[in-house]
């Protein structure tokens, strides 16, 4: 039954294609229903004790494609489907001013199908095909509004994303040429015997380059600052909260921990990329006056935290990295939805033109305050615990410079978000917005749900850690032994 995660969004995309022209709201109903069913299914995958393996078409394991859902995949499935469901509810009111909405919902369902397919597959070329489906849908969604800046941002994103995908395909070609198999478990088995051949090392470096472009780590981050602000706001929250994590961090983790095996050189590469992204991201973000561009630069910095946590390699570091990934998708999506709500009312993204919104838009300003405190790492919100794990893991692994930089970057993030709060919500010296009301109910529902989730995950973090994060990190820590389960 695992195939339903990828097949149901495809069915709903084709149903919207046929029925969406008749009435306006049918496309929203079909898409939200599909997303809600998948959300329930993804919560059900936590409760199974063993790894779910499904062979497509009945062909046996090295010859056919197999779908694998283990606890690492179920963490990502929860993140994807939760944020998709809330973004779809948000886009009911936000997208009402655009016409021909059925194209938007078709692309959204195709994006969901691609993202779900990336995390459930157990075959390397199938991973590439689903990665391309998700990427092309996101290129089209960034250019959805059709204005000058959106087209330029989408073109930049398209060119850089296609180069990344070409590198990944090149890496797959090298692996197939040397090992003549494409199944992930089989590759992990064969790599124990011939690891030091130069073609395998070249394939690994091509994979890291291609997947780092998708994750927007620092030398490869040029597309993110233009693409995330130019998209419509629910798509920005999906892009920043889900897509760069699923295509990038999931791909890197599967390849480095489960297939190739973690060793000292890979750890150094990940720590270096993570620290560089952290520092450069937040330094670029301080001077920004465009709200969504500031949030996009902070995304680069927080993904640097996640990659640093994964690169440290100790159990506490991996738990911290994955917990920060989970938290970041919650509060960064909330921040982008807040920016969309402000834009819906005032039609501007510039921080200098906003001011004194905390009285007329109470729910937006309160949820934005919760998200800002959470991203800066203030207890008891969820961001504090995950950053604490990463900093403790850095100091225990004797990486004193990285740990010190984590604390410094966290302070600069706090300063940057205090600036946002002052200029956007609390600045009484600017023009008065007395005739603005709160945004419609569907947008309020999504924002308040995410804010409540921020508080709950922060207060009950041992529950979240034991049931969702810790089994996921066990998959990565067991490394190459994990795939031996599948071959039986």
């Amino acid at each position: 039954m695992i195939y339903i995660f990828s097949v149901l969004p495809l069915i709903s995309a084709f149903l919207i294609f046929i029925f969406g022209r008749i009435k306006e709201n049918i496309s929203w109903i079909i898409a939200t229903l599909c997303s809600f069913i998948l959300l329930i299914f993804s919560f059900l995958t936590i409760f199974s004790n063993k790894v779910l393996v499904y062979t497509v078409g009945g062909w046996k394991i090295p010859f056919g494609i197999c779908l694998v859902v283990d606890k690492f995949s179920s963490l990502f499935l929860i993140v994807i489907n939760l944020i998709t469901f809330l973004s779809l509810i948000y886009s009911f009111s936000y997208m009402k001013k655009y016409d021909r909405l059925y194209f938007y919902y078709i692309l959204f369902c195709l994006l969901l199908a691609g993202l779900n397919g990336v995390v459930i597959t157990g075959d390397l070329f199938n991973f590439f095909v689903f990665l391309e489906i998700a990427s092309i849908s996101s290129y089209a969604l960034v250019a959805y509004k059709g204005g000058k800046e959106e087209l330029e941002a989408s073109f930049k994103y398209l060119i850089l994303g296609s180069i990344g995908s070409s590198f990944i395909l090149f890496g797959i070609a090298f692996i197939y040429g040397r090992l003549s198999t494409l199944n992930m478990a089989d590759i992990s088995n064969s790599l124990e015997f011939n690891y030091n051949k130069s073609s395998i090392i070249f394939a690994l470096s091509l994979f890291i380059a291609g997947l780092s472009i998708k994750t927007a780590l620092v030398p490869f981050h040029a597309w993110l600052a233009d693409a995330h602000p130019a998209a419509p706001s629910p798509i920005s929250s999906m892009l920043s909260g889900v897509v760069i994590k699923v295509l990038g961090v999931y791909g890197l983790s599967r390849l480095i921990f489960n297939i190739f095996g973690f060793n000292y050189n890979l750890s150094l590469i990940l720590i270096f990329l993570g620290t560089l992204s952290m520092v450069v991201g937040v330094l670029l973000a301080i001077g920004q006056w465009d709200f969504k561009r500031l949030l996009a630069y902070h995304s680069i910095s927080q993904i640097g935290y996640v990659v640093l946590g994964l690169g440290i390699g100790t159990p506490m570091g991996i738990v911290g990295g994955l917990f920060h990934l989970f938290n970041h998708s919650i509060f960064k999506s909330l921040l982008f939805l807040n920016a969309g709500a402000i834009e819906y009312n005032i039609k501007t993204k510039n921080l200098k033109e906003m001011g004194d919104l905390s009285k007329v838009m109470p729910i937006t300003s309160n949820s934005s305050l919760i998200a800002s405190l959470s991203i800066a790492g203030i207890p008891p919100f969820c961001g504090f615990w995950s950053k604490l794990f990463i900093i403790l893991a850095a100091f225990m692994a004797n990486l004193k410079l990285a740990g010190f930089l984590c604390i410094l970057v966290s302070l600069i993030t706090l300063a940057s978000f205090l600036k946002v709060q002052k200029y956007a919500f609390l600045d009484k010296t600017n023009k008065n917005f007395q005739d603005i009301k709160e945004v419609p109910f569907s947008m309020v529902f999504s924002m308040s749900f995410l804010a409540i989730l921020c508080i709950l995950v922060g207060l009950f973090f041992p529950l979240v850690k034991d049931y969702i994060i810790e089994p996921a990190s066990n998959v990565l820590i067991n490394g190459k032994d994990y795939f031996k389960v599948i071959l039986n």
Partner: protein
């Protein structure tokens, strides 16, 4: 070994064209050359010297054939490349309508 090196040269040529040329249409052609170079490399991996095409015929049922699996995979990859090129051409057409130029140095509205 020489033919794989030539595929890598073609790939580098495509990437060079993508970076250096200023016209948007030439950048799309560079992207197309890059993708086709990788497809060519993948198919050439399955070649065996002196082998036939992997098609069964009625009179000889046991032939030595080249590897048919990369050919099926590359069919998918060519379709993906077609989709990307079609989308990028339509994007370039709308960019021309908004900015009235194909020169990438003049299309820099997003800064900072």
């Amino acid at each position: 070994m020489g033919i794989y090196f030539l595929c890598l040269v073609l790939f580098s040529l495509g990437v060079w064209c993508l970076f250096v040329k200023k016209n948007l249409i030439k950048k799309i052609i560079g992207l197309a050359i890059t993708e086709y170079a990788i497809n060519l490399f993948f198919i050439l991996l399955g070649y065996k010297i002196g082998a036939d095409a992997p098609i069964l015929e009625k009179n000889n049922l046991s032939i030595v054939s080249v590897d048919p699996l990369p050919q099926a995979l590359i069919l998918t990859s060519i379709v993906i490349g077609l989709g990307i090129i079609a989308f990028s051409v339509s994007l370039v057409m709308r960019l021309y309508e908004k900015y009235k130029t194909f020169d990438i140095n003049k299309i820099n509205n997003l800064k900072g």
